[in-house]
């Protein structure tokens, strides 16, 4: 009985993820009988291949059975839209054998929810190519123009790649093309940097495989540039300020750090530029992430730090046009982000406020400081005013810790150091604009100092937190506070202020060196400096409960964790 044979065959097919040649989609064209029976497995086995041909010839005379199987893209779990096991029995009359055109119009009309076509490689030596091509297409939705750019480039290069059916990924692309709304980010992610997937969520991309490097390269990487360039400013200030001349710091550290920072900025910018070119969708998703969007200010702030830290041996007076060039992207980004805060809707401040928003505010103050250094008058005041107004709003909002605000971490995390950044840079900017360190500059300075102290005495709460690349961004507030203290020492010179300057500078240098060691260890020894960037791979819609359940079972997570996540989700 062929029928029972067919039915028995099904489970074994599911066990193997081997590939079959399917005409069109995953439907079987029994019309001409040339296609092998999809229920048969073992590509390489010619014997069974022959058998299957025979089998199909027999079955087509009897009950026409159509099986549509779509295999999951990732071996780890199931995912909505990617997995539909449809056993579709259709009793079609075997009427016209000559009708080879479209014997199953119903099937053709049926909406294809399948993810990838299953390609066959008849030659063994092309198997490698085929497996690469499979992995390639999984990341297609994140690539620029959904992978078409890459195909163009490889076509230009003359590489012969098997073109997958475009429509195969169509539905999945629809799922991924539009970045998720901000609500989804808050629902699906947790953690102070919103970078850990909740237990009940599934990722669009395979979680247990290493993704392409560019896809794993987050915009947080610019934080390293911020950290190193602010160190360069610190050492320059230690070298040039007369109040600290008792330390006899040479200009060498400044020079070395400046060149190192420059190299880092060029490298990180280059890599991120490649990511924009090749994985634009992923960049778009990062831009819509409520925490990561603030890091888009980081490259410009880092460049301004470089301009502030430029060693006297290289350049003394910088041209003002540099300031205009650097402030234009900040201005445009600000218009967008502050406007979103004001006009409400999904991204209103009471909902998305988180400490990383300080990065968007600090840009204003750094710009004001740089402009005042260059001798400009009105521009620095403009950005200082804008920064101050929005800083007051953000400061009050974060201090209130509104219940509607989901993004503030309950436990302490290095991200809190960003609180120190804005007032310390603001005081320096105001001092430069006014010409001396007057009372209006001292007030923000003391606020910065107070915030620093209240975090520093809780340093034991910072232990046990997973290291991430974003930590570099949190070092620059410490350095900023040290520089502000040095400027304050220049205005009020006595033993207390001098020792405070030395102390804070030592702490910040020590922190940066420790972080450097950590980074090197993670980069070269542990090789997990760039883990899979889960936070951009969340689904657009909440996965159904059944899918959550099956994903959960397959990933074998802690049941207690599962229960708590389920209960949390049901509360939302």
């Amino acid at each position: 009985m062929e029928q029972t044979e067919l039915q028995v065959e099904i489970p074994s097919v599911l066990k193997q993820t081997s590939c079959q040649n399917i005409k069109g989609f995953d439907c079987v064209d029994y019309g001409n009988g040339n296609n092998p029976n999809p229920l048969e497995n073992a590509i390489s086995d010619k014997e069974s291949y022959g058998e299957s041909i025979a089998g199909s010839k027999i079955t087509k005379l009897e009950l026409q059975e159509v099986v549509i199987i779509s295999l999951p893209a990732s071996p780890s779990g199931l995912h909505i839209g990617q997995t539909k096991l449809v056993l579709h029995s259709e009793k079609c009359e075997n009427t016209d054998q000559n009708d080879t055109k479209n014997p199953y119009p119903q099937l053709a009309k049926q909406k294809k929810f399948h993810s990838q076509p299953i390609l066959v490689r008849e030659n063994g030596d092309r198997k490698v190519v085929h497996s690469e091509a499979i992995r390639d297409h999984r990341f297609d939705p994140f690539k620029t123009w959904s992978g078409r750019l890459e195909r163009q480039i490889s076509n230009l290069r003359g590489k012969a790649t098997q073109e997958p059916d475009i429509e195969a990924g169509a539905s999945e692309r629809d799922e991924i093309e539009e970045a998720p709304g901000v609500d989804r980010y808050f629902d699906a992610l947790e953690g102070p940097e919103l970078d850990t997937l909740r237990a009940t969520e599934v990722s669009v991309l395979p979680e247990d495989e290493k993704w392409p490097f560019l896809l794993r390269f987050p915009v947080n990487a610019f934080g390293i540039c911020l950290g190193v360039s602010s160190q360069a400013i610190l050492w320059k200030t230690l070298n040039t300020s007369p109040a600290m001349s008792f330390l006899h710091i040479s200009p060498m550290p400044n020079l070395i750090l400046w060149w190192a920072a420059l190299a880092l900025i060029l490298f990180v910018s280059f890599v991120y530029l490649l990511k924009i070119v090749f994985y634009f969708e992923a960049v778009k998703r990062e831009y819509h992430h409520p925490v990561r969007v603030n890091f888009f200010f980081a490259p410009w702030i880092a460049c301004m730090f470089m301009a502030l830290a430029v060693p006297p041996s290289i350049a003394v007076n910088l041209r003002p046009f540099i300031w205009y060039i650097l402030m234009t992207p900040i201005f445009i980004l600000e218009l967008k982000i502050y406007g979103q805060w004001m006009s409400g809707g999904q991204r209103r401040l009471s909902k998305v406020a988180n400490p990383s928003n300080h990065l968007s505010i600090v840009g204003n103050f750094v710009g004001a400081l740089l402009g005042a250094n260059m001798g400009l008058k009105e521009g620095p005041i403009f950005f200082f005013a804008v920064g101050l107004a929005h800083y007051i709003v953000l400061f009050v909002t974060l201090y209130q810790r509104l219940p509607t605000n989901a993004a503030l971490p309950k436990e302490l995390h290095p991200v809190f150091f960003l609180f120190v950044a804005a007032p310390s840079v603001a005081c320096m900017a105001w001092a430069k604009i006014q010409g001396d360190f007057d009372y209006a500059a001292r007030i923000p300075y003391f606020i910065a100092l107070f915030l620093y102290m209240s975090l520093a005495v809780r340093v034991n709460f910072f232990t046990g937190i997973r290291f991430s690349l974003a930590w570099w961004a949190y070092t620059f507030p410490m350095t900023g506070a040290s520089i502000a203290t040095i400027k304050y020492t220049m205005a009020v010179t006595n033993v207390v202020t001098r020792s405070l300057s030395v102390c804070l500078s030592a702490i910040s240098t020590f922190t940066v060196s420790t972080l450097l060691v950590y980074t090197i260890v993670h980069a070269f020894v542990l090789r997990d400096l760039f883990p899979n960037d889960i936070s951009i791979a969340i689904t657009r819609k909440k996965p159904k409960f059944s899918k959550m359940l099956s994903h959960f079972r397959s990933s074998s997570a802690d049941s207690k964790d599962f229960d708590s996540s389920i209960s949390k989700n049901s509360e939302i």
């Binding site: 218009l335 406007g339 004001m342 006009s343 209103r348 009105e378 005041i381 005013a385 009050v396």
Partner: protein
């Protein structure tokens, strides 16, 4: 369905827009009797048009009075408006007097209409006072009077009559302040976080305009007093509005033009501090730059205003006043900081405000039907309050 719609409107404290309101008056149920009564009065006499008019119409007077002030400032001999002064001085002074008179007449007409409404429809006025958008527009006539006072071509600033009039116009502002600001932090249903919306900035503007005029007349202490009132509440309001605690549900889409009030408040503060401190110092500059930034931010978001621009309504007049105040602040800035860019800024902003006001006047003349009050938005609301409470 229409009844549910209206209930929804009521619970969300929205002023129903005229077209929406007309559809909701055809409701079945307990309110049919009163709504048919309302429609009867609507069809019967013209007096009802007058009484249906609400405080939002004072936007027109705000716009015209601020225009008069702008023209006066530009025409002043002390104003060193290079490009503009040559143009402005060619226009005979008769034109300024005409503009000032038109503004005065409009304001008097609107005040008269509102008085009629107070007498004939006092319940609606009470409802308006309780509404989170309507109550702020009660400041508008006093602001207009103060601006007219400053723009008057007839009197000198330190004239005795001027001072008396200033007192007469500022006292209502202070009384309203006490009522509304007090409500913000004491009264249960009307906490600031509940009622805050962009029109709340009109209260702040009232204080700041009072301070500005007082300083021009030489009364520094009163000026500083009103300024401090205004700026403190502005700080609180600014933070609250940016936080958008309850989302943008509190303002109907037709009233989106009032977002331009974000521009007006810091500009007015800048002007006020300028007259108090007699020079455009860093604080004034910072306030002016903040309003410039907010202007850029709003102008780069046309999608925010799309829905309200579909149909002409009195809400469109909300565009004019903030632009004019911004132009005034730019004028003061250009006087203090000599240079090309400040002058260009002043020129551009002044031209923009004049063009916008003229366009609005043309639109009003052409589409008189759209701007006349169709229905009293507070009547049904009041009646509904009576039935629900």
């Amino acid at each position: 369905m229409a009844q549910n719609q209206r209930r929804f409107n009521v619970t969300n404290h929205q002023i129903p827009i005229p077209t929406l309101h007309q559809s909701t008056t055809n409701t079945t149920g307990t309110d049919t009797g009163t709504s048919t009564r309302a429609s009867k009065t609507a069809s019967s006499s013209d007096l009802s048009i007058l009484t249906r008019f609400h405080a939002g119409y004072f936007r027109i007077s705000l716009a015209l009075c601020s225009q008069a002030l702008l023209w006066k400032t530009l025409a002043e001999p002390t104003t060193d408006a290079r490009a503009l002064s040559s143009i402005v001085r060619t226009i005979p002074s008769f034109a300024f007097i005409l503009l000032w008179s038109i503004a005065l007449l409009t304001l008097l007409l609107l005040c008269l209409l509102y008085l009629v409404r107070c007498f004939l429809r006092f319940r609606s006025v009470r409802a308006e006072l309780a509404h989170h958008v309507g109550m702020n527009y009660l400041f508008a006539p006093w602001i207009s009077f103060l601006m007219l006072l400053q723009a008057t071509p007839f009197l000198q600033p330190d004239n005795r009559l001027c001072r008396i009039l200033w007192c007469a116009f500022s006292v209502p502002i202070v009384v309203l302040d006490v009522k509304i600001y007090g409500q913000w932090f004491t009264q249960g249903k009307r906490f600031l976080s509940m009622v805050a919306n962009p029109t709340s900035q009109i209260t702040v503007i009232g204080n700041l305009v009072g301070a500005h005029v007082a300083a021009q007349m030489g009364w520094k202490e009163s000026a500083v007093c009103m300024f401090s009132l205004g700026i403190t509440h502005y700080l609180v309001l600014f933070v609250t509005l940016y936080q958008r605690f309850l989302g943008s549900d509190s303002l109907p889409a037709m009233l989106r033009p009032v977002f331009f009030l974000f521009i007006a408040a810091p500009s007015t503060a800048s002007l006020a501090w300028d007259s108090i401190s007699s020079s455009f110092d860093t604080g004034c500059k910072m306030l002016f730059f903040l309003s410039l930034f907010l202007f850029a931010s709003l102008v780069s978001r046309p999608a925010l205003f799309k829905r309200s621009m579909r149909r002409f309504s009195v809400a469109w007049w909300a565009y004019s006043f903030p632009l004019t105040i911004l132009a005034l602040a730019a004028t003061e800035y250009a006087q203090d900081v000599k240079g090309v860019i400040p002058n260009v800024l002043m020129l551009v902003l002044s031209v923009l405000s004049v063009v916008v006001t003229l366009a609005l006047m043309v639109f009003t003349a052409l589409k008189t039907n759209d701007i006349l009050p169709h229905d009293d938005p507070f009547v049904c609301y009041n009646i509904a309050r009576g039935t629900t409470t």
